[in-house]
Structures are given as C-alpha cells and as structure tokens.
C-alpha cells in the first residue's frame, strides 16, 4: 500500500492527488480542475442526475460526482466530445422548463445560466417544450416557481438531511416529474418551510426564491458577474476544503 499522499490519477494528462474515499469530482476540484456540474453540491449527498460532470474513466463514461478515485486511472474531462455533450445537456435543461433569464431575479446568481455561459451556449438548439407547471406563491416569504426547476433534487435532499423537515419531494415520472410540497393542501404556506431553511438557500436556479429580496444586489455585481462559474466554484470548493479538510 502506498501512503495517501502518493495516490494520484490522471485527469486530462494532469496528475491529480487524492485521498482514499474521495470521488473523481472532489479530487479534481481540490486540485483546481473545474468539472461542470449542476445537481451536485459538495456539502450534500451526490445525486448524479444532471450528468454534466460525466467524465471518461479508463474509456468508460461515469458521473464524476459519484465515481471513486482510483490510483493510476486515466480520466478525460475537457475533451471536445464531452464539452459538446455538456452543452447539449444544458440545452436540454433549458428547453424542458420555462427559463426567462432577463426577468429572473436569480440572474447573475444562477448556476444554470452561469454554466451555459461557461460552456459557450449560443442558443437552446432544441425546440422548447413549453410545459405547463404550477407556481406556488402562497407562502409569505418563499416563491416556488416550478417553471425554473431543473430537478436537481437539492431542495429535497437538504430539507430532508439538514433542515430535517422533508418539505419537498418529487412526484410524476419522466418528463412529467415535478417538485411537490409536503402539506395537507400541497401548498407552501401550509408547510413547515421558512425563509431560513437551508433548502431554500441552495436552489441553484430561480425555482425557490425569497420574496422581498428583488435587486438587493444589483445586476452586474452578482456572483457570476464577478467571476465565471469555473473560477468561482473551484475557489469556493477549495475554501470549503481548507475549513473541512
């Protein structure tokens, strides 16, 4: 057995050190190599659903957020084929919902929008689905706009694991999958959700928004206005690693 410090794998021909039990994703981000992702937040259990973090490990595709790092393995991430696939996946997320960046309060703080810029998306390419999804504006402090939801499942996981409230769940199947709220009426106002819930803070898009906060930070001064998502998320990841080790 070699010591932990000596364990490495290769990501796009760059040697990446890793600790036993680390995923390919975590090791890459720690080393400063950005892998695009939307459903994953390193603070919570991975979901491997958006598939943007797909990499090729020893010739086979895997979601890097759940793939354990193994010494000596060859991983490809920044290739023309994978970049094109990530673009297509992002376009798919845009067309299956109803996203209107110019009027969205999340604009500039939105991971979907920032990832689209990062990947150089010029358009949505695929025909829009224009689904009819219910909006829940019943809660005094929180807006649930299913039109902007990308089904990353973060609110479900965080409400369950961190807030311990289980406010959110998914229902439907396939393209008809939607977020549902746990309350007798099915509406947010009758649920246990509060503005302080972690679940509400972690929505990567504008599906869960706090009311009364519009334009608190002006356009132009928001997270991804200042730094691209690749730079910002690597910095955030490394800062987190420095704290948690």
């Amino acid at each position: 057995m070699c010591p932990d410090s000596a364990k490495t794998f290769y990501l796009d021909n760059r040697e990446i050190p890793f600790k036993e039990g680390q995923t390919v994703f975590d090791a890459a981000m720690t080393a400063g190599a950005y892998i695009p992702h939307l459903c994953h937040n390193p603070d919570y259990e991975p979901h491997s659903s958006c598939r943007l973090c797909t990499v090729i490990v020893n010739g086979r595709p895997f979601a890097s957020c759940t793939q354990p790092a193994v010494a000596g393995q060859m991983v490809q991430s920044d290739t023309p084929e994978l970049r094109e696939m990530r673009r297509m996946l992002t376009q798919m997320l845009f067309v299956e919902g109803n996203h209107y960046c110019p009027s969205c309060e999340k604009s500039g703080n939105c991971k979907l929008q920032a990832t689209a810029y990062e990947l150089g998306l010029q358009d949505n390419h695929f025909p829009q689905f224009f689904p009819k999804r219910e909006r829940d504006a019943s809660h005094p402090d929180i807006l649930l706009d299913r039109d902007r939801c990308i089904l990353c499942g973060l609110c479900v996981r965080v409400s369950r694991d961190i807030d311990k409230k289980n406010v959110f769940a998914m229902t439907g199947r396939g393209i008809h999958t939607v977020i549902v709220v746990d309350s007798p009426s099915g509406e947010l106002k009758d649920s246990k959700a509060t503005a302080q819930d972690e679940a509400v803070q972690h929505c990567p898009v504008g599906a869960l928004l706090l009311k009364g906060k519009g334009f608190e930070v002006p356009i132009g001064e928001r997270i991804y206005d200042k730094a691209s998502i690749s730079v910002h998320s690597v910095e955030a990841f490394q800062a987190r690693e420095a704290v948690h080790g």
Binding site: R51, T54, A169, S183, G186
Partner: protein, 620 residues
C-alpha cells in the same frame, strides 16, 4: 369488480393498514391494495397512510405519481387498460380500443361521466402470444376481438362484476412450443434443496448441515453443502438470464463473503421489456422450481429472507403464488427449520405498480423499500449494499430456475448444454408475425433462423431480439446466434413480416421509452421526449434529413451520459432502424429545398448489399 369498489374510505383504508406493519417499506404494497379497493388513491387515504407509516404526504403523493397503475383520480367502476405493445398493435389493438370506446361511449383516457368505466393504453402486459390483450380491474383478457368487446360492453352495462364474467375471458395459455432441459421433466419440490444440502458428503442431511465451520483465513462461516453447491454453480458457468449475463456464482459468492448481519435474495419477476412473457409462464407452471432456486441461493449465501418482485400486470397470479408458498411452507421447504436442518428461509411477494424501470435492480430495491423506483447511484452495487443496505443477490426468474437445476444435477451436466461461453438453455418469447407464437426453450447458440423455422416465421423481414432495448435483426443476419458470444438476449423475439412498416415499430418503441423514463437524469428524461417528438415529426411528414442527424446525436448522448441501462439502451432500436430501415423513414420525409448532407442513393448501398439486391427498385 364493480361491487368491490369500496365506498367508505376511512374504514376500508384502516382495514388495509391493519394488515401491514408500520414500516415505510410497506408503502407501495399498501397503495396497491388501496388502488384495487377504490380504483384510485383518495386524498383521505394519503393522509391516513402517511400518518400510519410516519412518512410525509408528499412522499406518498410521490409514489402515486410515479407508478402507472396508481392514480390520484377515480378511474371508474371498470378500469380497462389495453396493452400497447407493437405486437398488440399488429393484431389491431388500436382498432379494437377505438371500437370499445365508441361502444362504451367513453373517450380514451377519460372516465365516463357516470363514473362507470375508463379505457386507456398501458405498456405491454406480457400476453404478446395471445393478444391483443387488456387488463380489466387487474384481470387479463386475451385474444380481444369485436365479439369479445361486445360482450364486455354488455357485462359493463349490466354492472356484472368481473368475478362473474365467463372464465374463458381470462384464460391465459402457456403456449409451450418447445422444451429442453429446463422443462423436459417434472420438478419434484424439495429435490434441489436436498441435493444442495447433502452435496459433497454422505447422505445424512442433518449431520451434514450442522457441520458448520469457520474458515480460519476469512472468518466466514460456511456449510459444506453450501460451499459445494457454490462450486457446482461455478462449474455450471450459469450467467444471469436478464441479458447482461453476469455470472451467478460470482454474485452469490460476493454476497456470501461480505460480513453482514443479514442478507437478501431478490427474484426479479418484473419483466417489463415489451414482448417478454416467460416469467408469467414460469410462475404459472414452474413456480416451485423458481422458488426453490431462491431457497438454494438463500442457503448458499446465508440469507434468511427472499423477495419475489412481480409486475402488477401479473396480479391475477396472486392466489396461485400464495397457494404455492403456503404449500411449500407446509411441506417444510420454506419458513423456519427447513427440512429440519435448522436453516430458515422465507419468501415474501412484493408487487410492482407499473414501472419498467423497476426491472433495473437498484430501482427494484428502492421499490421494495417503498419508494419511487429510482435507480440508485452506481456504487455500491446491490450485491454489496442492496435491500436495507444489506448484501443482496438479485437474479431473475429464469436464472433461479436454472440454479435449482444446477443444484439438483450438478454444474458439469448443466455446462454440457449450450455454447462455450453461454451454458445451459434459454427461454424465448416468440410473438408477432409467425404461425406458432409462444415459449420456446433452446440450448444457447440457436440461430435466429432456426427459431423462425420452428415458429413458422421464416418469411419475416426482421426480428427484434431482446425487446425495444435490444437489437433489430434483418434477413441477411438470420444466421446469427443467440448467445452471449453474439446476440445476448433477455429472450424476447418479436417477428415482423414482410408487409410491416418498420417505422411504426420505431414509433411504438420510442413512445414506450418516453413513458417509462423515470425522470432522474437529464439525458433520459429529456432525450426520450426529444426522440419521441422527432419521430412524430417524421411520422407527420415534416421530417428533414437534419432530424435524422438529430436522432443520431441525441441517441449518442443518451448512450454515453444516461445514468442507467434504460437511458443507455433506449435509443438502440432507433440507431438500428436508421441503418437497416432507412427507407421506411425516408418515404415519410418532406422534400425540401435543403440539400441533404448525405447522398440518398449511396446511403442505400449498405441495404442493397445486405439484401443482395441490385435491381432498379433498389435504386432511387
């Protein structure tokens, strides 16, 4: 049964809840019973169930929305589902559905205003050899025709309960056409268990079984019989019959060797692949062999609990299977202290509720635990952490039946059948354009042509091997063989005659996958819809060459990035069809001013070579 629709929700739900422990894992089983009692899951029931199991209402609603046979709105006193596989369509299921709707005065997919009846389509119900088929209040009706429909309408109008309909309506045939080693002889219940427990020693069952020891090297407790049976399984080289072909012995040994307080044995009887019906026949006529294979597995790996996960479409087998389980318990072949050896193992039935994805092992385990059938993360594998995070062997019905025979007759005997890398025999579900549809058992290595000859389908232009997620085989390929070395298969064998328009096959399959995608991952959730829309565009005469390229691109994306086998294999039939039956696509395409990137006539060259034609009609 119209009379059976419960009218007092609270009371009826309480009765159902009393029969189940307060275990969230019971949720799906409770919902299935509520659905059968009310023909929907009333809002009142959602609250009662949630409180009883201490889960959220949203969680309960999440399941109702996920499984096709659960509904949050009332579906009528008579709930009719018409099987929508391509083989049903080829037998005019769509015309019959239309006729049924017009006779009943009901719109497809809607409940009649008096609440009496609803009619809708459902994915393949596993009656492809005797279609067109339907389910009426959970009971299968086969060989639908207009006369049958007339009588059904008569009964429904007269409010005659389904239990009082003539039995011939629900007659389901085994249609056994060819048997080999698996089915040739009758199976003596208990024989395989006895053989397993006494293997490698003298014949005194008791003495042997208690000869437990701990292997000093690994610290694993083992019994000689179990160890010797595992060796036989290795010698047999039995591979999983679900299509992937993973070696059963490796799976069993892995499960056995992981230190855990409990282990599970799960039998996958969720055969949702359209065109597949062998589990139905096995469980109807060879249930003992299947259950015995599970028991042997339990003994070998050291599991105490088996779970038989069956698709909802086979609900009508419930009394039969419960009777077989009861009989086996009485005979000392299941339950506590099997054959007085001290070994205990029992089998519980878990019902699916309409979800193809649950045939995928980790989704099945989620379903067994009472959740939406969402595939789990890739690691750890179910054999390491399956049901309740315990080591779990998941094999399908046919694999367990074969394992029972290996335990009984030994691995060398088993490996004497089939080919070098595909030992034993395989069941084929033959349907479509042939004279004798049904179940055929062959040693592995049989050619497509041989099966076609035996079933009377030699005139076919194509065979869909292993279902919509499998491979489309055309005439020049009929000498290919069914074995892991060439065409690996779950056993589905749908035959398409010369007159069939293969584009219609593609359209049916594409919509099947759109309906069955679980919705977890982006490429499958969105990709299956994009593909269905593209195929519909071509069907509507609005397709352009660019759309065909788009089909290729989306297919490639799904194959590479989808989370599980469903999404990765869903485009297989499209990719095959675009190569092998491009003509059926192109004849629908819009003639545009746009010059296509490919040369139409040149692209036919491959088809000309495959079909050995070079006449004028084979050129543009």
């Amino acid at each position: 049964m119209s009379q059976s629709v419960a009218t007092h929700p609270k009371e009826a739900v309480h009765q159902i809840l009393q029969l189940h422990p307060r275990d969230p894992g019971e949720l799906l089983q409770i919902l299935v019973e509520v659905q059968h009692a009310f023909h929907f899951v009333p809002e009142e029931a959602v609250s009662l169930i949630a409180d009883h199991l201490r889960v959220t209402r949203a969680h309960v609603r999440g399941l109702v929305g996920f499984y096709s046979f659960l509904s949050d709105t009332f579906l009528g006193d008579y709930v009719i589902y018409i099987s929508d596989n391509i083989t049903d369509r080829m037998l005019d299921s769509q015309g019959i559905a239309k006729y049924l709707c017009s006779r009943l005065g009901v719109k497809l997919g809607k409940v009649r205003s008096d609440g009496r009846v609803s009619v809708q389509f459902t994915s393949c119900t596993g009656m492809c050899d005797q279609g067109p088929a339907a389910l009426v209040n959970g009971m299968p009706v086969t060989r639908l025709n207009r006369e049958r429909v007339d009588r059904m309408v008569e009964f429904i109008t007269a409010r005659r309960p389904v239990s009082d309909w003539p039995p011939e309506f629900f007659q389901v045939e085994d249609n056994f056409r060819r048997s080999d080693v698996l089915f040739r002889r009758s199976f003596d219940p208990g024989a395989a268990i006895k053989a397993a427990m006494t293997r490698g020693g003298d014949e005194t069952l008791k003495a042997l079984h208690f000869e437990e020891a701990v292997d000093p090297a690994s610290g694993i407790a083992w019994k000689r019989g179990a160890d010797e049976t595992l060796k036989e399984l290795y010698r047999s080289d039995l591979r999983g019959r679900g299509g992937a072909g993973f070696k059963a012995a490796i799976k069993w040994e892995t499960c056995r060797d992981i230190s855990a307080p409990e282990r599970y044995v799960v039998c996958n009887a969720d055969e949702g692949e359209p065109g597949t019906f062998k589990d139905r026949v096995m469980l109807s006529s060879y249930a003992d062999m299947v259950l015995e294979g599970m028991t042997v597995c339990g003994y070998v790996v050291g599991a105490g609990q088996g779970i038989l996960y069956i698709r909802q479409e086979y609900w009508y087998l419930k009394p039969h299977l419960e009777a077989v389980l009861a009989r086996r318990r009485e005979a000392g072949l299941l339950g506590k202290n099997i054959l007085e050896t001290g070994y205990s193992f029992d089998i519980a039935i878990h019902w699916g509720a309409g979800a193809y994805i649950c045939g995928m092992e980790s989704a099945m385990i989620e379903s067994i635990e009472g959740r939406r059938g969402k595939p789990r993360k890739r690691w750890p594998l179910p054999v390491v952490a399956g049901v309740e995070k315990r080591p779990t062997v998941v094999n399908n019905v046919e694999t367990f039946a074969a394992a029972a025979l290996v335990a009984l007759k030994g691995g060398v005997w088993f490996a004497g059948h089939g080919t070098m890398h595909s030992t034993g025999t395989k069941l084929f579900c033959v349907s479509g354009d042939c004279e004798r549809p049904g179940i055929y058992e062959y040693p592995f290595g049989v050619s497509v042509r041989e099966i076609l000859r035996d079933c009377g389908g030699l005139e076919a232009q194509a065979v869909q091997v292993s279902g919509p997620s499998g491979t489309t085989i055309t005439r020049p390929e009929f000498d290919r063989v069914l074995a892991y070395e060439d065409l690996s298969t779950v056993g589905t064998f749908m035959v398409f005659g010369r007159e069939r328009d293969m584009f219609e096959v593609v359209q049916n399959f594409t919509h099947f996958f759109q309906h069955e995608s679980c919705g977890l991952c982006t490429p499958c959730r969105v990709g299956t819809s994009l593909l269905a829309n593209l195929v519909d565009k071509v069907a509507g005469g609005k397709g352009s060459p660019m759309d065909l390229e788009e089909v290729q691109k989306v297919s490639q994306l799904m194959k590479t990035t989808a989370h599980c086998g469903l999404g990765q294999t869903a485009p297989n039939h499209l990719v095959d069809s675009l190569v092998k039956f491009r003509g059926d696509w192109e004849k629908r395409m819009m003639v545009t001013g746009f010059e296509p990137a490919f040369d139409l006539d040149a692209s036919l060259e491959e088809a000309r070579q495959l079909t050995g034609r070079d006449d004028a009609a084979a050129h543009l």
